[in-house]
Every structure is written in C-alpha cells, then in structure tokens.
C-alpha cells in the first residue's frame, strides 16, 4: 500500500517536469518549421526586393532636330555615309537645349553620357527606315545610360555605387523635374536578348531558348518514359535484366545533374559531333536527366489502375497489348502527365549540365530554331548574377521572378490535373 502510494507520488512529482519537457519538444518542432518557412519567406522577399526595379526602365525624351548639316549626312539610305555620320550631334544639341548652362565641350561630353550607348544607333536606324525624316524635328525617347538608371532607381541604396559626377547628378535631377528623364515599365526586358548594357538586356532570348529546349526534352522524355514504364509494369518478365533496369533507374534518379553534363559533353558533343550551345543537345541531356522521374511516376500511375479493368478487358478477348493501350494507358494518363509536368519543371530550373555543353555563351540574338545557339533562363540568371556590372543584379532577380512564376504555374497545373482528372479507385 505504502509502496504504491510512494510510486504514485514519484510519478506525480515528476509530472510537472515531464509536461515541461513535452511542451519544450513541441516548441522545438514549431521552431524548426518556422525556420524552414522563414527561410522561404526571406528568400522570396529578398528576390522581390532586389528585382522589382528590374521591371522599370529609365528613359530620356528629347526634341531632336535631325538636321543633315550637324550629322554630316545627306542621304540616310547610303550605308557608307551612315558609317561616317555623327548621330550623336543632334542628341547633344537637344540635351544642351534642356541644360543651357552646359557650354564647354567637356560639359557636353558629360551631358551626352546621360543617354545610353545605343542612342546614336537608334537615330541611325530611324533614319535608315524613314529617310524622309531628315531635316525634321522629332520627339524621340532614348534609354538612359546605366549610370543614370542606377542613380535614378537606387540613389538611396548604399549597396549601389553611383557613378555620376556631382554635376551630372544635378543635371539628372533638373531633367527629372522637367519630365525629360522618366521611369516607365521596362518593355525592353521582355522584347530583347542579352546585351552588354544592363538597360538594353532582355530575357526574351533565354525564354525562347528555354522553350525550345523543353520542347525537345518533352518530345523525347515523355514517350520514352511512358513506354519504359509500360514495359516494366506490364510486360517485363521477372528476371535479372528487369531487375538490373530497375536498379539502374533508381540510381539514375539520384545521380548529380552535373554528371549528365559530362555525359552530354563526352558522348553527344565529342563522340557524335553535335554542335555546342544548341537547344537540341540541351534538350537531349535534360531528357536523360528527367527520364527516371517520368518513369517512376508513370509506373505509379499504371500501378494504381485496378486489376478489375484489365480482367474485364481480357475477359472479352482483348490481347495484352490491347488491354494496355486501350484501357490501362488512358486511365493512367493523368498521373503520367502530372509526373511529366513535374519533370519538366525540374528540367526548366536546371543549370549545371547546361553549363558544360556550352549553353553559357553570350548570345544576343533570340534563337530561331533547335539548331541555333541559345541560352536558357536559369543560365541567363547565372550569367547576370555573376556579372560585375551592378545593373545586372536587378535583372537577375527579375529573371528569377519570371522563372519562379513559370515553375509555380507548372506545379499548380500538375496539382490541378491531379485533383481534376485522377480517379480514385
């Protein structure tokens, strides 16, 4: 009796401590989840904070007198004359009209630096396309130079260094008040390829490159993956070869992606002599990489089709192949599509293997086919992020936002497909 009571006492006395431990353990769990989710929030906030300015461009709008005398140009259709002409002169004159106190030639040179490097090219292109505009006055909008752009967008941010002289900063402030220098939505970012100048660089080239690469990946990985899954799930005899294939697939799913880059470089490029940097090779490498993902998810989808369907089809005299192609495959299709979309999302975000097969080249043109040199979104982000020019940082984060938008919508599509089409048996 006394023994029992004393034991109960011991238990009761220790209870408080044990409950405290229990609460502490729970708190650890909450803490761990908060750390993980906090990291996610910080990551997104950091990228949005760094990148939203990438969607803004800085422009200079000027009344430009395109007179032939100051440009030394009579005939804009003549390429030789255009090559010799001074297209900067009208811009400088127009800027001087806005900033009358700049008179010395040194000032004018500084003033001209406010307009982006390609300002004179813009006038040249305009005149070549519209020769009748010679000797007229036009209101033209140029991109501001990168230094101006950084000053306008980031002057309060200590991690950016402003590379304008005091004088230039004053002028920019004046011009902004007058409405000559303005900020606007950065359409250049969505309509052009890469450039050495941050304000002229765009993501379109990389987007098209990613699209072409993904088309190749999907065209190879989806049929091959589904066919392999059908064979392994429905036809494969239980033998050593089948076992070996299965072990291989499971291991391939865990091979580091960069190894696939080595494979692409050594086999596809060096042995078969395919060109470097092209979407076809990139797509092939990514197809090999995503194949295990697609096979594994397709097998799961086939497995989930109940045997009663197969038996019913066999019962009315269908051959094994007919059972599979007419009944199992259509019913497993939603699951296979879901797996493939997830595989494609994985391929879209992949960078390392593409670095090795030369898709990191600096490419200005938007690729126009499966065999033209291209880069892809994540590689473009990598290139911009590792560039020394500070204007590229915001472009890299803006690119990340676009990449993440694509990935999130692909995953959402997969989840929607799964909810909508997948039948539970």
């Amino acid at each position: 009796m006394t023994d029992q009571r004393s034991q109960a006492d011991i238990v009761r006395r220790s209870l408080k401590k044990r409950y405290r431990k229990e609460r502490r353990f729970r708190a650890y769990g909450v803490l761990a989840i908060s750390i993980a989710l906090g990291a996610l929030v910080i990551l997104f906030a950091d990228i949005i904070g760094k990148g939203w300015t990438g969607f803004i461009k800085t422009t200079v709008t000027l009344e430009v007198v395109l007179d032939s005398q100051s440009m030394y140009l009579d005939d804009p259709t003549d390429a030789d004359q255009r090559a010799m002409a001074d297209f900067a002169a009208p811009i400088i004159a127009a800027l001087q009209k806005q900033v009358p106190e700049a008179a010395r030639s040194q000032d004018l040179r500084q003033l001209y630096r406010l307009v982006g490097t390609y300002g004179s090219n813009d006038i040249s292109d305009l005149l070549r396309a519209n020769p009748e505009m010679l000797n007229t006055t036009q209101t033209l909008t140029f991109l501001a130079s990168d230094a101006v752009s950084v000053y306008v967008k980031h002057r309060d941010n200590p991690s950016y260094s402003v590379r304008l002289s005091e004088q230039q900063q004053q002028w920019v402030d004046q011009l902004m008040e007058k409405g000559v220098i303005k900020t606007a939505f950065n359409d250049v970012f969505f309509t052009s390829g890469d450039s050495r100048e941050p304000s002229n660089a765009g993501i379109l080239g990389a987007l098209v490159g990613s699209l072409l690469t993904l088309v190749v990946t999907l065209a190879i990985a989806f049929p091959v993956g589904v066919a392999a899954a059908i064979y392994l799930e429905e036809f494969a005899p239980q033998n050593k070869i089948t076992d070996f294939i299965e072990v291989n697939i499971n291991n391939l799913a865990a091979v580091p992606s960069i190894i696939f880059g080595l494979l692409g470089l050594a086999v596809i490029i060096n042995t078969f002599g395919m060109p470097r940097s092209v979407p076809v090779v990139g797509g092939l490498v990514l197809a090999l990489m995503t194949l295990p993902t697609i096979i594994i998810s397709s097998r799961a989808a086939i497995k989930s089709v109940p045997p009663s369907i197969r038996e019913a089809a066999e019962g009315i005299g269908a051959s094994k192949m007919q059972v599979v192609l007419h009944h199992v495959l259509p019913l497993a299709m939603p699951g296979m599509l879901t797996g493939s979309i997830i595989g494609m999302a994985q391929a879209l975000g992949e960078t390392a293997p593409l670095l090795l097969i030369g898709m990191v080249a600096f490419i200005v043109d938007v690729p126009d086919g499966f065999f033209s040199a291209a880069t892809v979104l994540p590689v473009q982000i990598y290139l911009w992020a590792s560039s020394a020019e500070q204007g590229f940082i915001e472009l890299a984060s803006a690119g990340i936002m676009i990449l993440l938008t694509f990935l999130i919508s692909m995953n959402a599509l997969a989840i929607w497909l799964r909810k909508r089409l997948e039948r539970r048996w």
Partner: protein
C-alpha cells in the same frame, strides 16, 4: 536536305503509308465479305505499314546524323598533304576548326596554306554530297519499307500480332535506355579518366594536398607542372556538406516530427506544400541568394565580432544548401515515421508516456534506420550540388576547415575546368572527368547504401 527537315518528312510519309494501307485492307476485304474475314482489323495493317515506313528510315537517319560529322572530319584530315598532317589531337582539332571556318566563309582563305584551302573545299563538297545521299537513302528506305508492308496486306496475314511484337520491342528499348544512359556515363567518364591517369599517377591524384590545374604553355614556365591533388577539393566538399547537414537534419527532422505527430490537419495541409516548395526552387536561385545576400551578411556579422571572413565563405554556401535539403529530410522522415505501426505508438501511450517520450523512446529508435537512409540520400544530394557552390563557395582550393574561409568543391572545379573552349588532350580538361568519376562513384555508393537501408527498413514493418 537538313536532318531537321527530313524528320517531319519521314513522319508525313508514315501517315501516307498508313492511309494507303488502310484503304487497301478495306479493298482487299471487300470481295471476301467485309473486314470480319481479315485476320486483323484494318487499323493493324495500316499501323504495320507506317511502322515499316518510319522505323528503318529513322534508324538510318539517326545513325547517319550521328556519325556524319566524324567520318567527314576523318576524310578531310587524311586528305591533307603530309607536311600539314597533324601530329596530335589538339593540332587536329585546331586545323579542323580552321578548315571549317574557311569553308563557312568566316575566315578568309588568303592566309591559309593551299592544302588547308583544298581541304576546306573538300569539306564543303563532302557535306553537300553527304546531305543529298542521306536524303535519297532515307526516303528510299521509307518508301521501300512502306511498299513491303503494302504487299503484305492480305486476309491471311496476322498484322496485329506483328504490330504488337514490334511495339513490345520498342517498349523494351525505351526501358533499356536507362541502362544505356548509365553505360554512357560510365563510358564517357572512364575513357577520359583513364587518359588522365596516363598523365598523372592515380596515387598523386588521390593523396595530393594541392590543387592547381594550370598547365603550362611552355615547358620552362614557372609552375609548369600543375598540381592535381584532390584532397583540398574533398575537404571543401565535405565541409560544405557537413554544414548543410547540420542545418538540414535537425530542422527537417523536427519539422517532420511536428507535422506527423502534433500538427492539426489544417496546419499540415498548409505547411507541408510550403516546405516542399523549398525543394522546387531552382538551385541557381539558391546560388543567387547565397552569393548576394547570405555571404555579405555573414561577412558583416563576422567582422562585427572581430573575425576575418572572406566574401565567399563555405558557411554561406553550406547554410543555403542546408535550407535546400530541409524538405528532402523532412519528407523522407515523415514517410518513415508514418510507417512505424500505430500499435507501437498506442502501446507506449497506454503505459502513460507523454507524446514526446513516445516519440523519443519508441518511434524514433524504430524509425532510425529509415531516417539514416534519408540522411545519406540528402548527403549525396549535397555532395553533387553544383550551382550554389559555383556561385557562393569560390575557386581557391584551400585546405582548411574554417567555415569562414573560401573553399572549392569537386563540382565547382568540374564546371570551371569545362566551361568555355577546351582541348581534349590536356590533363587540365581530363582532370574534370576524373573528378566526375570520383563524384559519380561516391554518390552512387551513398545512394546504393541508402536505398538498401530504406528497403530493409520497409520490409521490417510491412
């Protein structure tokens, strides 16, 4: 015709063959009393025709496209006069690029020797001939195949059986691509690795403590040797992976425990997908985050407490990599914790243990092998991860365990050695493949062990 245009053309031919064979099978069936008296449905005769049309033609096309460039190069090189004939592989590739640049008009032929100009012309004609010949051959095979199948449209032919057999073979080949990929990986890294070890002894590679893969342009240059000791790369990789696991294992494990044992259904349904989002973020994004946000932050903090930190630290890369692998650990541990039978949980609770005591003393020991498997998988992920370390860890091969120092990893070196132009006979380039081999072997071992543990564990409770 271009390979890219030939492919759709063959497919169009296959469709035509399909339609023709379909109508022929109906025509054949008409006099004998309808399609019920055919051995197979018209669909199968038609499908057989398009298979016969497309498959041989596509195989020839693939083989041609695969070997065309190499064969033409070999012919062009052998056509060169003896005084120009290349004496090494590097010289050959240089000559070839010169020849092809002249052929495509990017290089003016004026400054090249006559032999090279002649070779460029030969290259042009060979290319043109090869294209024409390939087009004719492929189309001929497609038409021949289709017409053979056309003659085989007859009531007594069991086309279904033949089509199904062919399909089965195609399915098998698709499944075998996994083996081919593995073979391709092994073949590609082993060949180059073997060549690398002809230059650098295996033992020096494995035990060397200094890594500087520069190869001299001249033999008498200072530091002409280059050092290929892999130890600093491996300590760098291990340092970063250990940091990553130190972050990810406790966080992932505790999250998994909380989500599976404590969290309400609603919390679980929100928190789990959000956690999994961490796994879906591309590695280049983590690299960006590590290099431009975390690394400067760590540097500032370290300087504030009086420590010297380099701008690219192992700690930054490791921390961010840890965040990346949290979801691996948590979802794998979640699975194994849920696989522990409910009876064990109930038994422990019935004896009066609190939930945390049940977790720590009963479920965790039971789930430990599975969790270890998950950690090994995460470790192999961390070792093979590339972009985060390329962007945040740096290039200097320091042999150090100081997490605030710059280290480099196996994957970073592979990328730096192979990005850009390279010659394929220098030890510098080949060393990247030796590193790849090492990486492949290590991650494969980790995976095999991990999968074995996980499988054994599953069998225990099934």
């Amino acid at each position: 015709m271009q390979t890219a245009n030939l492919l759709p053309l063959v497919l169009v031919l296959a469709v035509v063959a399909y339609l023709l064979a379909y109508s022929r099978s109906r025509a054949v069936a008409e006099p004998i009393g309808g399609i019920r008296n055919l051995k197979s449905l018209p669909f199968y005769y038609a499908a057989r025709a398009s298979l016969w049309c497309a498959i041989p033609a596509l195989l020839v096309l693939a083989a041609w496209a695969g070997f065309e460039a190499k064969v033409i190069q070999a012919i062009v090189i052998s056509s060169l006069p003896s005084e120009l004939a290349p004496d090494s592989a590097g010289r050959a590739s240089l000559l070839l690029s010169q020849i092809s640049n002249i052929a495509s008009g990017r290089l003016s032929p004026e400054f090249a020797p006559d032999g090279v100009v002649a070779a460029a012309e030969l290259l042009e004609t060979l290319r043109a001939q090869s294209k024409t010949f390939m087009t004719i051959l492929v189309l001929l095979i497609a038409v021949l195949g289709a017409s053979f199948a056309w003659t085989r449209v007859a009531p007594h032919v069991n086309a279904r059986e033949k089509v199904e057999k062919t399909l089965l073979r195609i399915f098998f080949v698709c499944a075998a691509i996994a083996i081919l990929t593995t073979l391709g990986i092994v073949f590609s890294v082993i060949m180059e690795t073997f060549r690398f070890f002809q230059h650098i002894p295996f033992w020096d590679f494995i035990t060397g403590t200094s890594w500087s893969p520069q190869m001299a342009l001249r033999a008498d240059q200072v530091g002409a040797e280059g050092a290929f000791g892999v130890i600093p790369l491996f300590t760098g990789t291990l340092l970063i992976s250990v940091i990553a696991l130190l972050v990810a294992v406790p966080t992932g494990l505790l999250s998994a425990i909380y989500l599976s044992e404590y969290a309400s259904k609603r919390v679980r349904s929100v928190a789990k997908p959000l956690l999994e989002m961490l796994a879906g973020v591309p590695t280049v994004v983590y690299g960006f985050f590590a290099a431009l946000t975390v690394a400067p932050f760590i540097r500032e903090v370290a300087e504030a407490v009086g420590l010297a930190a380099s701008s690219q630290s192992a700690l930054a890369a490791g921390l961010v990599m840890g965040i990346m692998i949290i979801p691996f650990i948590s979802s794998l541990s979640d699975d194994v914790i849920n696989a522990v039978p409910q009876t064990m949980r109930d038994g422990s609770l019935a004896l009066g243990a609190t939930q945390s005591e049940t977790m720590k003393k009963v479920i965790f020991p039971a789930a430990l092998p599975g969790i270890m498997g998950g950690i090994l998988l995460a470790a192999s992920r961390a070792i093979g991860e590339t972009m985060i370390v390329v962007m945040a860890a740096g290039l200097a091969a320091n042999l150090t365990l100081n997490p605030l120092d710059t280290v480099t990893t196996v994957t970073v070196q592979i990328v730096t050695l192979l990005v850009g132009d390279q010659e394929f006979d220098s030890p510098k380039t080949l060393s990247a493949f030796a590193l790849g081999m090492l990486l492949f072997v290590v991650t494969l071992l980790l995976n095999v062990i991990a999968l074995k543990i996980v499988r054994k564990y599953r069998e225990q409770y099934d």
